[in-house]
């Protein structure tokens, strides 16, 4: 088990390095000349050259990369070209909005999807199952940002139950902050819970087809007892891996939702950075998100190995 954990952590680190190389490559090599991108096409050749010198862009690729990566490990992701503020600090501030939002959405998703999926599987081929299937098909198809738009219009603008946007910050009051995140979280959770419900339902249905369920019934367990005591235990294992993927999707989703609700999170930072052509900011923000996603994947893999006794014995 320990051997596996060590190996997996090594893979995580290698993946982060590979991802950072990719990000750096896209930002520094693909656009041709980052200085031109940052200054705009109207810039004079002299100012471009000056910027190149200043940023050390004339050095070879790998040198630049190691410079950036080396500082990044120590928490220094460079300085925003536009504002001059340290990127690391900016990102940390923004994370205080994005991460709680993602967690809230994840919690809501799980709270809805697990019961709904199990319920639907238990009442397979009955009207209740059809209802859940149809609802989840609809939920899947709705763009999260559209749901957000509609929710904002109905609940915030018209009914004024919630703020229409913006984030008061955690210092102003815990509940105020949560309130500001509620509608955005619901918008995200709407879609994700539809996806997860379908997944849970199918995982449970697949498990119910397996032989040991029949053995449980042969021992005298009723259908529901067999489902609860044997089925769920097994079905939850593959569902675990999906949870990890869902969290990654949620993080990506926050980027869009923050735009609808004007939340000062990581996503809106990235969007602003694009408009301002602040390549370093985009670089830093992206790699942080990717690292988070890889981290979640690492945690899920290890938990999966812990939970499934067939894998634990290694």
């Amino acid at each position: 088990m320990l051997g596996y954990v060590v190996r997996r952590i090594f893979i995580f680190l290698a993946s982060v390095v590979a991802a950072s190389l990719l990000v750096f490559f896209v930002m520094s090599v693909l656009p041709g000349d980052p200085a031109v991108v940052m200054l705009g096409t109207q810039a004079t050749p002299e100012s471009v050259e000056a910027l190149r010198q200043e940023l050390g862009l004339n050095r070879p690729f790998l040198v630049r990369y190691f410079d950036w990566a080396g500082s990044a490990i120590r928490g220094d992701l460079g300085v925003s070209f536009f504002s001059g503020i340290a990127i690391g600090g900016q990102i940390t501030e923004r994370l205080k909005v994005t991460l709680p939002l993602a967690f809230m959405a994840m919690t809501m998703t799980i709270l809805v999807a697990f019961p709904a999926g199990v319920f639907a599987a238990a009442r397979h081929r009955k009207p209740a199952d059809t209802f859940v299937s149809v609802s989840s098909q609809i939920g899947l198809a709705i763009p999260a940002f559209w749901a957000g738009l509609i929710l904002v219009t109905v609940f915030a603008v018209n009914l004024s139950w919630f703020p229409a946007g913006g984030f008061p910050g955690w210092d102003e009051g815990f509940w105020q902050a949560i309130q500001a995140l509620l509608l955005p979280a619901i918008s995200l959770a709407l879609v994700q819970s539809a996806i997860l419900t379908r997944y849970v339902r199918s995982a449970v249905l697949e498990t119910l087809k397996l032989d040991f369920i029949r053995t449980a019934r042969a021992k005298g367990l009723s259908r529901s007892a067999a489902l609860w005591r044997h089925g769920l235990r097994n079905a939850s294992i593959p569902v675990l891996t999906v949870l990890g993927l869902q969290f990654a999707a949620l993080l990506a989703g926050t980027v869009v939702i923050e735009s609808v609700f004007v939340l000062p999170g990581l996503g809106s930072m990235l969007l602003q950075a694009i408009t301002r052509r602040d390549l370093f900011l985009v670089q830093g923000g992206t790699i942080v998100i990717v690292t988070f996603i890889l981290l979640i994947s690492l945690v899920v893999d290890i938990v999966y190995h812990l939970v499934d006794p067939r894998l634990r014995a290694q």
Binding site: L2, G3, Y4, V6, R7, F10, L210, D211, F212, R214, T215, A216, R217, A218, K219, G220, L221, S222, R223, R229, H230, R233, N234, I237, D308, P309, R310, A313, Q314
Partner: protein
């Protein structure tokens, strides 16, 4: 308490589409008796068992009456059925690996039955579990009770299932193909345990299987099912020595000589003359690296084939016999040059298979027939194309169409088969198609890897006859691999016995089977269940 545990009257089971799967059967089971229910697949025997448990799969309907200890299992409310299942009647299933919950400990699964039916405390149940595991001869029962299914061997898992079935002292235990998935030596162990404990717990036993000798060994009465009906029943010995029904006769007739009796002498065969070797295996080993578990661990390996030396002579049928994990399939893959030995040398028809660049001729000269008739034909290709594939691939000149027609004829399939798809054919027919394909490039050597193991008994005989006939007609050399000793004895000239990658014994079929020299071979032969119960 009457003597009758189970009374089945006019049981009919139909599928959702209306097909009749069980066609009106009736029988009684008395207390403490052992009855066998024999039939090939599709005969309806498993459905009968599930009807007795009240566990028919959704979509199937049942009529008639199935009365267990006074209760009708077909009409009683579910709640009552739950109280009966596991308590008055229980079942042992075929595949212990899938029949047990892989993420729950064995002890817990056995205790579940106890705590549910007898309201035992956790403590008492745990003690009882240890008693049960001891009764089924599982060593270190306290330790094993905390194990997960994948940590036990196949035989142990099945014995644990038996323990679970007997836990609440039921009046009837139904065992559905309980040993079919096990090696023959393990099978003997498990049957012994089943025997013992059924006696111990005073239960009645209904043993369902397609394997006649297994029934002969364990039961006193037998019923034979075919196409949903009971076609014959009576005392086991009597039915097997003098079957009256045509289908039963076919079944009994398909049992190979070695499986008929342990005491009656088998005629020794005439030794064939020695001929030159076509396959020469010298000190061959094949070692596989295992995926690394830890990061810094050394690479672990498994030795599938361990220094084997043997020779296959031209024109003979050479058998390779072994239980699972013996390495016989790995050896077969090397003989057909799809894999290279880690050590040693294999020369086939004069070509050293290690020289991959010189392989090409072997692709025509050596052909293989596989075990699974479902998986050995590409479901997307028509039969004619499947058979012609080797001809196309090897760029063999000549009229392919004519050759395919010739082959279809040789394997005794109708001529219009060439335009149809594999799924339109039965298992036995698909094996014939596979044989036709193998014969297409006119090979010299045929390697048959468990070619009949997945087929029904009566079809096995027909297919083996066909193989033997074709081998003679085309003058082939055949390597026949199987775990089934009696089949190997029936059709091979010489045989090699493998265990865990090593060659244990080798010689003519008479030498090895009738006068085994090693303990392992003796064990193997002794473990074979016999039709006369010896």
């Amino acid at each position: 308490m009457t003597d009758t545990v189970l009374q089945v009257r006019d049981l009919v089971v139909r599928s959702a589409a209306g097909t009749t799967l069980v066609d009106g059967i009736s029988f009684d089971l008395d207390r403490r008796t052992r009855t066998g229910l024999i039939g090939e697949s599709g005969s309806g025997k498993s459905l009968t068992a599930l009807s007795i448990m009240g566990l028919l799969p959704e979509g199937l309907t049942a009529e008639g009456s199935v009365i267990l200890n006074g209760r009708d299992m077909l009409t009683s409310p579910e709640k009552q059925l739950c109280a009966i299942r596991g308590n008055d009647v229980s079942m042992v299933f075929q595949e212990p690996m899938t029949a047990l919950n892989p993420v729950m400990r064995i002890g817990q699964q056995i205790a579940e039955a106890l705590r549910f039916h007898q309201a035992m405390s956790r403590q008492d149940a745990a003690e009882r579990v240890v008693d049960l595991l001891t009764a089924v001869r599982i060593e270190e029962p306290e330790l094993r009770a905390r194990a997960f299914p994948h940590q036990l061997s196949g035989g142990m898992r099945q014995r644990a299932m038996i323990a679970m079935a007997l836990a609440c002292g039921p009046d009837l235990v139904i065992a559905d193909e309980p040993t079919t998935a096990l090696d023959v030596t393990i099978q003997a162990q498990v049957l012994d345990v089943l025997d013992e404990q059924v006696e111990n717990f005073h239960t009645a036993l209904l043993l369902i299987t397609h394997d006649l000798p297994v029934v002969a060994r364990t039961t006193s009465r037998v019923m034979v099912m075919n196409a949903g009906r009971i076609v014959e029943e009576g005392e086991t010995r009597a039915v097997f020595s003098n079957p009256t029904d045509v289908d039963t006769q076919a079944l009994v007739g398909s049992v190979p000589p070695l499986s008929r009796s342990a005491t009656v002498e088998i005629e020794p065969r005439q030794d064939r003359d020695s001929t030159e070797p076509v396959i020469s295996v010298r000190n061959v080993s094949r070692v596989f690296p295992l995926p690394r578990s830890g990061f810094l661990d050394e690479r672990r390996t498994v030795t599938a084939v361990d220094e084997i030396t043997l020779v296959v002579e031209k024109g003979e049928t050479f058998g390779i016999v072994g239980e699972s994990g013996s390495g016989k399939s790995t050896l077969a893959r090397m003989m057909i040059a799809l894999d290279i030995p880690t050590e040693g040398e294999i020369v086939v028809n004069g070509i050293d298979i290690a020289e991959t660049s010189k392989h090409q001729p072997l692709r025509r000269q050596v052909q293989m027939i596989f075990q699974d008739p479902m998986g050995s034909l590409d479901p997307r290709f028509k039969v004619g194309r499947i058979i012609a594939e080797p001809l196309r691939s090897l760029r063999i000149v000549g009229d392919h169409r004519a050759r395919v027609t010739e082959l279809i004829d040789a394997v005794e399939l109708p001529a219009d088969s060439v335009g149809r798809y594999p799924h339109e054919f039965s298992g036995g027919q698909r094996q014939r198609i596979a044989i036709a394909r193998a014969l297409a490039p006119s090979p010299d050597i045929l390697i048959a890897d468990e070619p009949v193991s997945a087929l029904d008994m009566s079809i096995q005989t027909i297919t083996l006859d066909l193989l033997a006939h074709l081998k003679d007609e085309y003058g082939l050399t055949m390597v026949f691999i199987s775990h089934d000793l009696s089949v190997v004895h029936e059709i091979c000239d010489r045989v090699a016995v493998m265990q865990r990658g090593r060659l244990v014994e080798e010689g003519s079929v008479d030498e090895v089977f009738l006068n085994p020299r090693t303990d392992y071979t003796e064990q193997l032969i002794a473990a074979i269940p016999r039709l006369d119960g010896t």
